[in-house]
Symmetry: C2
Subunit: 150 residues, 2 copies
């Protein structure tokens, strides 16, 4: 089995997509993460759901749980408003070291190792011209390899 056998179409965002829209796409589709593509349709970034959430968490709360705890309940309910008026690009964290992107001929083990290493529950799969062919999710991969081993 190769990546191309499990690749499915998937919603994408761009650097100029409003960040709140990106959060809604993730939540609305119960997606494991989002793919950011450039103007040529090539994958720029793969954001696991937790890192989409990270876009909205005020920086002073991210590394110190005690600071998040002093924000009162009413203010804590609306932290997502931090995203208002900002694009995906304006909310992005530091550049990740390794992108979970594979070619269509990647094997099940390559995809599993990449998901584990990058902690990403989805990998982007590229076509021969480098554009996004779709994604493979952790659940699609597990369903397949558990079936093969049964």
């Amino acid at each position: 089995m190769r990546a191309s056998d499990l690749t499915v179409e998937y919603p994408t965002v761009t650097m100029s997509t409003p960040a709140i829209e990106a959060a809604r796409i993730l939540a609305g589709g119960d997606l494991p993460g989002l793919i950011v593509v450039d103007d040529d349709g090539k994958p720029l970034l793969v954001l696991p759901g937790t890192q989409v959430l990270r876009l909205a968490v005020p920086p002073y709360c991210q590394d110190d749980p005690a600071l998040a705890r002093v924000i009162d309940e009413a203010a804590a309910d609306v932290f997502i408003r931090e995203l208002d008026g900002r694009t995906v690009q304006e909310c992005l964290p530091e550049k990740p070291k390794e992108l979970p992107v594979v070619e269509g001929r990647a094997t099940a083990l390559e995809m599993a190792a990449m998901m584990a290493r990058t902690r990403s529950p989805l990998v982007a799969v590229t076509a021969a011209d480098g554009t996004l062919a779709g994604v493979v999710t952790i659940h699609a991969l597990l369903d397949r390899v558990l079936g093969e081993s049964a």
Copy 2:
């Protein structure tokens, strides 16, 4: 809104659950991760899906993509057999620094900051006696905070 408002019941595993069974529970329920509880029902570990997958990826493939690439397709399809006969405990990686576990009175922002920091798409919620009350998933949290901000 507090963690207890969004907490839902959730499947658990123990250290002695067969690892292949843990992978099946994750895949079968399309779950974002698994909670490992002790004999008293207290959460010991929260394993994001990618870290459950990690249990099955041979260590020599985890940190070097080139090594995963030399395994042929047929062998790569059945890597999950590495889990056969092993328990969750026997497959566990090094102890994580911080567990995504909160009390029922944790706010939306505390949960979001914890998910972002620990890269976990679910947090375990404990009852007053320290046992697992259930979990809050990233999608439940996002649906709620996006609704509050609309």
